[in-house]
Subunit: 146 residues, 2 copies
């Protein structure tokens, strides 16, 4: 998920969006921050190098990035919105202890699910995608507090 400055510039430009320093730093922040950062964490990261960015701009840019499929929103059991720089469809491990969210990808699992739902059609419903929310606990936690 690392991306160079030019990489980031291209991703934004490819969508036909104006390449602004704000958009660049927000996308850069999401790629650099731990995993699935909150808006608060994104703002904190950006203000190190770009102290005057407006809060409203961060929200607006995030919306733009989401609707252009450059980032995705991730919801937790709790009420905090998080953002995900990995846009390929994937699953998540949710730690009930420390709130850490980790990506989970497994092609075999996706194949099993695909087969299951081909054989078990749901009346009146067309599936577009399936995401697993795998709740549990890591043996070693990231931030024991909060």
């Amino acid at each position: 998920m690392n991306a160079s400055i030019n990489n980031i510039r291209n991703k934004i430009a490819e969508k036909g969006l104006k390449v602004t320093p704000q958009r660049m730093s927000i996308l850069e922040a999401i790629y650099n921050l731990e995993n699935h950062p909150t808006v608060e964490q994104i703002i904190e990261f950006i203000r190190k190098k770009h102290p005057n960015i407006a809060t409203g701009t961060v929200y607006k840019v995030l919306d733009t990035l989401v609707s252009n499929d450059l980032v995705k929103k991730v919801k937790t059991e709790k009420d905090i919105m998080r953002y995900d720089g990995l846009i390929e469809n994937h699953h998540h491990l949710y730690c009930v202890v420390c709130d850490h969210i980790e990506d989970y990808m497994n092609a075999e699992l996706d194949e099993i699910l695909k087969r299951f739902f081909e054989e078990n059609k749901i009346d009146n419903f067309i599936i577009e995608d399936i995401k697993l929310q795998i709740n549990g606990r890591f043996i070693i936690h990231k931030n024991v507090n909060r």
Copy 2:
């Protein structure tokens, strides 16, 4: 998921909670409302018969019900909290068109998942439960607007 007045009273009492008219009507509302109602819908329903219930009380009671495992919170892609009267572990169909959420239960699927993760342990993580978020579209929608 239907429950008589006495049923509801017992559910609350069994948890060692005081049986108040407010708690009764909120639990009754969740059982009676469509599917996975929002706080707004719950308040609207209750005020028909109990016009003076305070908004803060509804939030407080909902928290109490959730922490006593009488109802569950359900998150949507969007930013609206919903409540679920079905407390057994189950999956959800999310309609991307009309926001309707429908329960999905299938013992065979759960068995397949159980077996898969027994054979594919995740390093450093102990699974407690797995929920599928099945996104797609119903052929017939509930509320085409909103």
